[in-house]
Amino acid sequence: MKKFQLQTVIKHVVCIILSIIVLAPLYMVLINSFKSKTESARMSLSLPTEWFFSNYAIVIEQGKLLQGFFNSFLYAGVSTSIAVLTCAMAAFVLCRKRTKLNKGLYFFILSGLFFPINYVTLVKILTTFGVANTRLGLIIAFTSSMIPFCVFVIRNFIITIPVEFDEAALIDGAGPVKLFFQIIVPLIKPVLITVFILEFMGVWSDFMTPLYLSGSSSMWPMNLAVYNFFGKMTSNWNYVFADIVLTCLPVILLYIVGQRYIVGGLTSGGVKE
């Protein structure tokens, strides 16, 4: 019994130390975002001698954050919605109708999990379609890049749904569209939410795609705006930190709300059915 307790204590000590390592940087960012310029330059963990809530107002105004927030939200929301919906439809057919062609197509799409995107030529292709340097172009690029992951995870989930559901719906006279939207979608809702959250956060965090593809600063998502702001304000860490807090807030909120789905999704995607 004694040995058991000692083990528990050691585990807690390890976990607490690790928690501090994880949380200290985040706490430092938060607390220093309320300090004056000189005080924040020391980057200490102590409370501000005077609280500068105005840092946030300044950052929102000068850092083009509202524009950035709108852009990020637009890119993440639209491209993730399109990808999740269309990939669910595709995954459904790939999973239910396992012809030779469909099996081939599945692995063909799956191989995209590994390939790096060639942005140089992607710009050229977007130019050909007349959408280079537009928000639509960015949305198309984001949507396309998440297709392999969406198809992979959603298909792994649909496999666990018994075919009997389909048959029952067909006997009731449902067509494929009705079958998919009224029977299958409600059944696979958990995985759709998971993929939506993960990919939404993925687009929100994506730095490389907008770096290559957004021509003007009015198209910048939040994190590109932050990076640029950082370039201009290297000595004003209080502003940079306030900027960082505002950029992370949406994803942290999404994480808190959707935590259950994220962990569940990693389970369904991570473990073979």
Partner: protein
Amino acid sequence: MNNKRTYPQWFLLIPLVLYVVFFLAPSLLGIAYSFTDWNARSIKGINFIGLENYIEVFTSNKDYTLGIFNTLRFALVSNVVKLIPALLLAVMLHENLKGKNVYRTIFYLPSILPFLIIGLVFTSILNFKTGLLNTALDFLHLDFLKQKWLTDLAVVWNSIFGVDAWRGIGYCMTIFLAGLNAIPKSYYEAASIDGANFFHKFFYITLPMLSSSIMINLVFGIAYGLKVFDIVYVLTNGGPGHATEVVTTYSYQLYANGKYGMSSALNTILFLVTAVIGVLVVKGMSKQEVQQ
């Protein structure tokens, strides 16, 4: 049941078209352009120059080969330093421990933050004079451990691996935890009856039963490692000198300088390396699928 009508092929249309046109085609087109002198000034036309770009990659004094080597090194080392601690943590948090859900939530937190943000935060933390890390070492009377984390050639890679581990361990841990949940408890009970100790159980039950979680972690980890960009770009921008340059940072520089053909050549090399690894993995997966 009429398969053709129930599961219409047109359901595949949109993802397939987007995938082929805006994901795969750029890569294939990139291969074609890597044999040309395409650049920002080639308004008149793009000329075929054979293997010249590739020859330059491997012979120029700009250390492109170091970039390739660094990329491979990152893909390998970053995974080792993430997966081993992640596995140990998962095993620890799988057993009954008060507050384990709180710990899990905290450990996963960094992996939801944008890479760029993590990079920015750590440029401040790793700052030699004012950074939190060196201040903390001072405070703990461990000053001898203080380093110029981002500018000293000898430690800069360790800093990058460290930041990447800070970000990624929680993610890998969560996947391991999912795998651990799927192992029936009876296996351990049976082993205990046979007198197995902790290490026996770990090596003969836990590890083999976790093979698919290990696989998933490795696959995503290696794919991520080969494509790494944000963290390196923000933390060191390839410096000091070109010491931490990776393929993607070189390729972005070349793009920014208008050398599209050269940039494509580097991308193509990365594409081929990941393609080889990807095909091997997908083949392995399809084999598993057949067995079921």
